[in-house]
């Protein structure tokens, strides 16, 4: 089954080839993004709550991009890993240790392990069956979380845990200043990891499997094992996003496992463009900020607009807005380079 594929832009083949070999080098624009994020820390203090939400969603969308965009695993149930990471981190803080960094690792490991187990099932099939299986697993886990009240708190949510200051020094504050920097650091780490991953031979193998798994099998690639590995990694990253959410919100509820969240992340990825890592950034920023603004005004109008936008976006820009921005950026840079 076909996925939304990245097609190289036809107008500048040379740069594209160059880019695909030089893509593990960090460029000027990367530095600027991070500079802007840090700028936001100093000058947009009132928006740190929102900024944290954006960053958490970017991490989740990044994890989904590794599965869908790079490996062709079609998942509409990624919220499961987010939720499991969140519950695991919260339960860990409640019962074992309130240290946040260990909590992150626990959240990631729990989600990764669940990804491994469900991957054995989900990766046996492809296409629509795969999509529905991921939805079904999501529904099952949501049911378990709602029913198992003694552990998860059910519909009341899981709260009452304390999160210790990060590295014993920086405690979470009401305004989200610490939370913003904390999640930004995790994002930087996750992004670096994902970059190394997709530019490694393993990353190229994954893209090969996405485009033609038959051929990769012929080449002697253990396709099933590779897919299971990336699915578990992707699940673990989603779990880390959930763990951050649990730590900065101080509360986990069943909505962190919902189908709606899975759908939203997919929408973000679609807006930003799949199979390009940066799509998660663009989609996450646009989606969270617009839904925040629009939902504050009227949630139903927002739903209507979002519905229309989705249909038009898939129809007219199936690769998301990412390529447009590339092209614009490329145009600007080209002009600068010319004498």
């Amino acid at each position: 089954m076909a996925v939304l594929k990245v097609t190289p832009s036809k107008d500048t083949p040379k740069r594209d080839i160059a880019a695909s070999f030089g893509s593990h080098r960090l460029g000027l624009s990367d530095a600027l993004v991070w500079a802007l994020a840090i700028f936001a820390y100093f000058f947009l203090g009132a928006y740190h709550q929102l900024g944290t939400q954006v960053i958490i969603m970017i991490i989740l969308a990044l994890s989904l991009d590794l599965a869908i965009g790079y490996s062709g695993i079609e998942s509409l149930g990624h919220a499961v890993f987010f939720g499991i990471g969140a519950y695991a981190a919260a339960l860990f803080a409640l019962n074992v240790l309130s240290e946040p960094l260990t909590g992150l690792v626990v959240g990631g490991l729990a989600a990764g392990a669940f990804g491994f187990v469900t991957g054995l099932l989900v990766l046996r099939v492809r296409g629509l069956t795969q999509v529905i299986l991921t939805i079904a697993i999501g529904a099952v886990v949501l049911q378990v979380a709602t029913t198992w009240k003694s552990v998860t708190g059910g519909d009341d949510g899981l709260a009452g845990y304390q999160v210790a200051p990060i590295l014993g020094r920086y405690s979470f504050d009401l305004y989200g200043h610490t939370a913003y920097l904390y999640s930004l650091c995790v994002l930087a780490f996750v992004f670096a990891l994902a970059r190394i991953l997709v530019n490694s031979p393993f990353g190229y193998v994954l893209r090969g499997i996405r485009d033609n798994d038959q051929r990769m099998r012929m080449l002697g690639v253990p396709v099933a094992a590779r897919l299971l590995l990336i699915y578990s990694i992707s699940a673990a990253i989603a779990g880390v996003a959930g763990a951050i959410s649990a730590q900065v919100t101080g509360l986990v509820a069943t909505d962190s496992l919902s189908f709606l969240l899975s759908g939203n992340v997919l929408i973000m990825l679609l807006i930003g463009g799949m199979g390009r890592l940066t799509g998660a950034f663009i989609g996450g920023i646009i989606f969270v900020i617009f839904s925040d603004r629009a939902a504050a005004i009227d949630p139903f109008n927002w739903l209507f607009m979002l519905g229309g936008l989705l249909i038009l976006a898939v129809r007219f820009t199936p690769q998301g807005v990412g390529p447009w921005i590339d092209r614009m950026g490329g145009y600007l840079l080209d002009r600068r380079r010319k004498p």
């Binding site: 709602t146 519909d155 009341d156 509360l251 940066t278 920023i285 739903l303």
Partner: protein, 356 residues
């Protein structure tokens, strides 16, 4: 490939900085409720009452121009409620918070308002111990225990001593079960079966069968208004539970607006008892008539108030009083002190705040 979000980022930053300082109101009030999802009726009623109140007072509360910001929790969603409260405080700089239909949502914001020292007027969220979660919580609703007290008492007076409870399986439901159990037991009644229903249930037939098999005289209920209450009410009559001698003693699900939405139930509802502190026709006071008329004048014929409307009306009234006391400045302590012992005439009758 990497020359990406620079422009997007800049555009977003620009749009944010534009939207920050466009307001000129002296006092900002944040209202959190369900404006979307199956329970959106709560939000609709909250907004109607608050908008009407502010409009009636010419956009000024306690002598200060106000801006009311509504935020949507989309139903029982504690995590979202907490985020919204944080944003309203840190980003919008609200001086007062209000709203809350569901208990889990209210409990979730307790830490936030305590830290920020912002008074939070809970409109509904009627689990008994909710107000103890933060010293900055005030509530203009009621507790389930108050409602349960009246209805269990009435059931006993009718000579009905064998009951079955139908309640939703989350904190308020458990509170209701405890309240029914304690009051009814004390008065000599016996609860023979408790049916806990998950919030997301679709088909209720199994639960009705349990109610039927309990062989009780009395059905006590606690469900939020929405799909569950409609299904409960409809199922009660469809299955002829009334004819089997199981009499309905309910709470909010027997309100006028949801009944009207059920269609044909005019006669159906005869013989159903409920315990609530307000209805559009009770009390039959001038204050209530004016309230109902004002709502209909502004929102049209179908705008029947329910407890959510009157709670929001009283809530914003209390906020107006506190605004006057603080002279429009941010001072949680002073506001709370002013609320203590304050009494006023509401469409539901006279009410007084014990302010703790």
């Amino acid at each position: 490939m990497k020359r990406f979000s620079l422009l997007a980022f800049a555009a977003v930053l620009a749009s944010l900085s534009i939207s920050t300082d466009a307001h000129s109101a002296e006092v900002k009030i944040g209202i959190i409720g369900s404006f979307s999802g199956p329970y959106a009726e709560w939000g609709v009623q909250f907004k109607r009452a608050v908008d009407l109140y502010v409009e009636k007072h010419g956009g000024k509360l306690g002598g200060h121009t106000v801006e009311v910001l509504y935020r949507d929790s989309g139903g029982p969603n504690p995590a979202r409620a907490k985020q919204l409260a944080q944003e309203l405080i840190t980003r919008e700089g609200v001086q007062f918070l209000g709203g809350m239909d569901f208990t889990p949502n209210a409990v979730a914001v307790a830490d936030v308002v305590t830290q920020a020292k912002i008074p939070f007027v809970i409109f509904n969220a009627n689990t008994a111990d909710t107000t103890r979660k933060s010293p900055y919580f005030l509530r203009v609703g009621c507790t389930i225990w108050q409602l349960a007290y009246g209805i269990t008492r009435y059931a006993i007076d009718q000579g009905k001593k064998k009951a079955v409870v139908f309640a939703v399986d989350y904190a308020p439901g458990h509170d209701a079960i405890a309240a029914y159990d304690a009051n009814y037991g004390k008065l000599g009644g016996k609860i023979v079966d408790v049916v806990k229903v998950p919030l997301d249930t679709t088909d209720f037939s199994s639960y009705f069968q349990r109610l039927q098999d309990a062989n009780a005289d009395v059905l006590f209920t606690f469900v939020p208004n929405g799909p569950i209450s409609v299904a409960l009410f409809k199922g009660y009559f469809e299955r002829g539970l009334a004819q089997r001698g199981l009499q309905y003693f309910g709470l909010g699900e027997t309100e006028e607006a949801p009944l009207a939405a059920l269609g044909q139930t005019g006669e159906l509802a005869i013989g159903v008892y409920s315990s609530l502190f307000y209805g559009p026709h009770s009390p039959e006071s001038t204050a209530n008539k004016e309230f109902v008329n004002a709502l209909e004048a502004k929102y049209g014929k179908g705008a029947i108030p329910n407890i959510g409307t009157v709670e929001a009306w009283d809530g914003i009234h209390l906020i107006a009083h506190m605004t006057e006391a603080t002279d429009g400045k941010l001072d949680g302590e002073k506001a709370l002190a002013a609320a203590k012992g304050y009494s006023w005439e509401s469409p539901r009758g006279s009410i007084r705040s014990n302010g703790t």
